[in-house]
């Protein structure tokens, strides 16, 4: 729009204009006072004086005609709308809180048509454009309510800085926290340095009992008590003086195991209960913390929380049982004892019934083999059991083999090391223990239990690609020493992977006979090593070339894989952004290593075939149909994403297999509400405090339109200034009129 008006010369600052006008006004006032005492020529003096002053002001201001093209620009105001899961909870009118949020935004826009609103949703991390309300619950999916991160992201953004900010939320935020002091709220406001107005979508809390918060004192360590602090509460007028709280581990090998329970005495709507749980198995363990909600609870989804504990090991506790002492037993024992993180409980059979020690019992340093104690009560306290060349029958182990089977399926590790009394020769064929080994054992009559011909084990393709043998290959390359013989092992069982095979022997199915095989059974892992010459990785010409490190490198990988050491997993799995029941999610697999591909590329061979990546997802806490997804790892890629369908609330086990190699496992939980629903009470006071600390205003949705937002700014895009007369003309006029005024005054007798 083009507009024209008069104005002073452009070279005058505003203060000079004001000063000139003020002096002129003062002169006129003095003239008026003087004229009140005059009786003649008063009108002439007044008129001439007025003209003189006017001319003087005009000579100073030198008026000009200003033509400008101007426009009005509305202030940029960022609306940060809460897009977390808690906005799906019921609001004051029973409708979801997002309805009140969207209504408040609409009111703001309607009442401030000149304001340029930018509507962003905040949740987890930097804010994003708020999803359209027409897309169902898309605007209430964020797993967190991190307002602080959103404000800081806008403050550091390269985009136009907003003139004000409006936060529309229920006030149940992760940051700032409930008990944040005013100083920290002010500090948050200073990061953006504009007023932060707030609109609280909800006043009243729903009728709800819930597990509000769970905190653990320290990291979870296997076999060690872990104190938990559980905060529970009742809101919305729900009467609950006492709430029973239970902690249960969700397991795939049976019903949930009760870890602890207690009674929380609710006072002023909340209670804190300390529970101590002990998780026996390392790895990701899912614990359900639940309250028995009284009748009337309107949000049953937050009556239980599923917490994933990554249970570590302070020490790996290994039971090492050997049928008789040999160089292989000695080498393994020395390696186990050399690692300070390994607690070894060893039992070696030093005397059999046929041996004649020629000494009385009290002259012998022999103690009874406590088979009952070890394989009943104590078994669960071990992280791994190593049976080395051990014959089950003479020592009564046979009747405890079902225990070992259960132990493995519930997360234990088992290694069977070869020798003349191992595998088939040890009487394990057809036993419950054979069901958990990665290879089949042929116990039929006429079956061969051992091949005593020397041989050099052969690497399989899976062995070359297995990260658990990377330490050995880094020391020894692809060489292996000659072995004095091997136990005859059968075909691989389902899920078994052969890492070394026999160069000449084959299985019933015609495959190369496994020499070293690994497998997963239930929650546990097993290893079959069908040789008793692993000690030659230390004591041999080949072993001495590596200063004996090859033996330790082999067992480092084997025991590490058994204990799910991330270094030896073929991939790392992660549910991106967590899993929320009822919503789709993404599981990302990062392939740790693919040694075979690396090797082929290094030797200049043909490009390796992209390996298939197979994901099997099963429910841990309930029977449900498994989900099977196959993908191909693109050439050169180190990760692959699996789009998971909407899952129900519960515990899940994701098992991933890369090519034909080993599998890796990741347990995770899907919650209906998660953190966002844990405490369903809105918190308008927090929003009010934030507005007050940052110079903003607070309102509920009906008054959202009355928030004092910045006025629009006038912007001139084109400006032309034309003087009405040249400066000398104004000066001449002023001089003439001043002179005339002086003459009139003199004639009237004034000085």
């Amino acid at each position: 729009m083009l507009s024209t008006h008069l104005g002073p010369s452009a070279d005058l600052p505003p203060w000079a204009v004001a000063l000139a006008c003020a002096l002129a006004a003062a002169s006129l006032v003095l003239l008026f006072v003087e004229m009140r005492r005059r009786e003649r020529h008063g009108v002439v003096i007044a008129v001439s004086g007025l003209l003189a002053v006017t001319a003087l002001v005009a000579a100073t201001l030198r008026p000009a005609r200003v033509s400008a093209r101007e426009s009005t620009v509305g202030a940029r105001v960022v609306i940060l709308a809460d897009s977390s899961r808690s906005m799906a909870l019921a609001g004051d009118d029973g409708a979801p809180r997002q309805s009140a949020r969207d209504a408040a935004i609409a009111r703001l826009k309607k009442q401030n048509p000149n304001v340029r609103f930018v509507v962003l949703g905040f949740g987890d991390g930097p804010p994003l454009p708020l999803a359209d309300a027409s897309r169902g619950d898309a605007s209430t999916r964020a797993p967190r309510s991190d307002l602080g991160a959103a404000i800081r992201a806008i403050a550091t953004s390269a985009e136009e800085r907003p003139a004000a900010m409006v936060v529309v939320s229920d006030g149940r935020l992760d940051d700032p926290t409930e008990d944040a002091p005013e100083a920290s709220l002010r500090e948050l406001g200073r990061t953006i340095n504009v007023p932060i107005h707030t609109v609280a979508t909800t006043r009243g809390a729903p009728v709800d009992a819930s597990v509000r918060r769970i905190t653990a004192a320290g990291a979870a360590v296997a076999h060690a008590p872990l104190p938990l602090r559980v905060e529970v509460g009742c809101a919305g007028g729900l009467v609950c003086n006492e709430l029973t709280v239970t902690a249960r581990e969700l397991r795939d090998d049976g019903p949930p195991a009760l870890l602890a329970s207690g009674l929380a005495h609710v006072k002023d709507g909340s209670a804190v209960l300390d529970l101590t749980v002990t998780l026996e198995r390392a790895g990701a363990r899912i614990v359900e913390i639940a309250v028995a909600a009284p009748p009337g609870d309107t949000i049953p989804e937050n009556d239980r929380r599923l917490v994933t504990f990554n249970v570590g090991r302070e020490h790996v506790r290994v039971l090492h049982v050997a049928g008789h002492p040999t160089n292989d037993v000695a080498a393994l024992r020395q390696w186990l004892k050399s690692d300070s993180s390994v607690d070894v409980v060893a039992f070696f059979i030093l005397r059999t019934m046929t041996d004649d020690s020629r000494a009385a019992q009290n002259e012998l340093a022999l103690i009874p083999f406590p088979v009952d104690q070890l394989f009943t009560d104590q078994l669960a306290t071990f992280d791994a059991v190593v049976l080395q060349d051990f014959d089950a029958q003479p020592y009564g182990l046979e009747r405890y083999l079902p225990n070992i089977q259960r132990y493995v399926r519930s997360g234990g590790g088992l290694v069977m090391v070869g020798g003349s009394n191992s595998f088939v020769a040890g009487g394990y064929a057809g036993t419950p223990l054979a069901d958990v080994l990665p290879v089949e054992l042929d116990g039929s009559r006429g079956g061969t239990s051992a091949d005593t011909m020397s041989f050099v084990p052969k690497w399989t393709a899976e062995g070359l690609a297995a990260p658990l043998l990377d330490p050995l290959r880094s020391v020894l390359g692809d060489q292996l020493p000659s072995m004095p013989g091997a136990n005859v092992l059968g075909d691989l069982r389902r899920g078994g992977v052969a890492l070394w095979s026999h160069p000449t022997r084959s299985t019933r199915r015609g495959d190369e006979m496994p020499v070293l095989a690994i497998g997963e059974e239930g929650d546990g892992r097993t290893i079959a090593l069908g040789i008793d010459g692993a000690w030659e990785l230390k004591f041999s010409q080949l072993g001495s070339e590596t200063a004996g490190r090859a033996h330790g490198a082999l067992w480092d990988g084997l025991l590490g894989w058994l204990m799910r050491d991330p270094r030896f997993e073929p991939a790392q799995l992660e549910v991106v952004g967590g899993c929320t029941a009822g919503l789709g999610s993404t599981l990302r697999a990062r392939v740790v290593a693919s040694s075979a591909s690396v090797r082929e590329a290094r030797t200049g061979g043909p490009p390796p075939k992209p390996p298939a990546v197979v994901l099997d997802l099963t429910r841990i806490d309930e029977d449900a149909s498994p989900i099977h997804i196959e993908r191909v790892l693109p050439a050169g890629a180190s990760s692959v994403d699996f789009a998971l369908p909407a899952l129900q609330a519960g515990a899940y086990e994701a098992r991933l297999r890369l090519g034909g190699g080993a599998t890796t496992r990741h347990d995770f939980a899907c919650e209906a509400g998660g953190d966002e629903w844990a405490d369903s009470r809105p918190d308008a006071r927090r929003l009010e405090a934030l507005a007050k600390a940052t110079g903003g205003s607070f309102a509920f949705p009906p008054d959202a339109g009355s928030l004092p937002l910045p006025r629009p700014t006038v912007v001139s895009s084109e400006r032309h200034v034309t003087p009405l007369a040249p400066p000398w003309a104004w000066s001449l006029a002023a001089a003439v009129l001043l002179g005339a005024h002086w003459v009139v005054r003199r004639r009237s007798g004034l000085s």
């Binding site: 020395q334 030093l350 005397r351 004649d356 009290n362 012998l364 103690i367 091997a486 040789i531 010409q541």
Partner: protein, 261 residues
């Protein structure tokens, strides 16, 4: 050498022994490669151990008394042979001064020790009270060249060697000698064990079934205790400090307290 009164029974005993050896015995390792092998170490101009039959008898006693497998025909290896690193145990005995080790021999022995190997040095000609012979003195001198940063220390009955299988009150061999052994200990493990008891002399038994050496002053009882020491040393090689594990400690403490010397 004066024959003991046992001589009339020598043939039947030898026959029995041979039958036991030849009887089918369960294989205890594929090809017995991983079995205990009292490998004879030869250095310089040595052509054999001071007690040629002792290593075989050592294995025989071990197999008869324990579950441990052993090579009944122990191998022989020269100190400069690369094969020295192919098993974790060496038995070095002699009754005369040994020639200084060559650079190759020293290098080979160092490689052997670096892998965790154990050397048993058996003085076959000690004095009645265990005074070291020329072999004992020269062997210690040469070992000091191989392991220059280590010195032998006395190990008594508190060391696990004295309880790896038998509970022993002292060390004994063909001669009674000192009650303790000497050892070079590295990382808590005995690398080199020195005996001034002629343990091989107590073990040596000829093809006729006769003990080759008389045992002073304790006779057969002392010989039995010497054999037990040999068994314990073999068990130390095969189990290292297994009997030091906490799970055994209470039992063994109680048994030692209640047992007679």
């Amino acid at each position: 050498m004066r024959l003991r009164p046992l001589a009339p029974f020598a043939f039947p005993l030898a026959l029995s022994a041979a039958l036991v050896v030849l009887c089918p015995h369960p294989a205890r390792a594929f090809g017995d490669v991983g079995a205990f092998d009292p490998r004879v170490l030869l250095t310089g101009n040595q052509s054999g151990p001071a007690r040629a039959t002792a290593p075989g008898r050592w294995s025989w006693e071990l197999v008869q008394r324990t579950s441990a497998p052993a090579r009944l025909r122990p191998s022989v290896v020269r100190a400069d042979d690369p094969a020295i690193v192919e098993a974790p145990f060496l038995y070095w005995s002699g009754d005369a001064e040994v020639a200084p080790l060559t650079a190759t021999e020293i290098s080979s022995l160092r490689r052997f020790f670096s892998l965790g190997g154990i050397l048993f040095v058996d003085d076959a000609a000690p004095g009645e009270r265990g005074e070291p012979s020329a072999f004992g003195r020269s062997a210690r001198r040469e070992i000091a060249r191989v392991l220059p940063d280590s010195a032998p220390v006395s190990i008594g009955t508190d060391h696990v060697i004295f309880r790896t299988f038998y509970l022993l009150r002292r060390a004994e061999g063909r001669v009674e000698g000192p009650p303790s052994l000497d050892a070079i200990v590295h990382g808590g493990e005995a690398q080199v064990i020195f005996s001034e008891h002629d343990l091989g002399g107590a073990l040596a038994r000829g093809a006729s079934g006769m003990w080759e050496q008389t045992v002073h002053p304790g006779g057969d009882v002392q010989r039995e205790r010497a054999i037990r020491l040999a068994v314990n040393i073999a068990m130390y090689v095969l189990c290292s400090n297994y009997k030091d594990d906490q799970v055994h400690a209470k039992w063994l403490m109680r048994r030692r307290t209640g047992s007679t010397p």
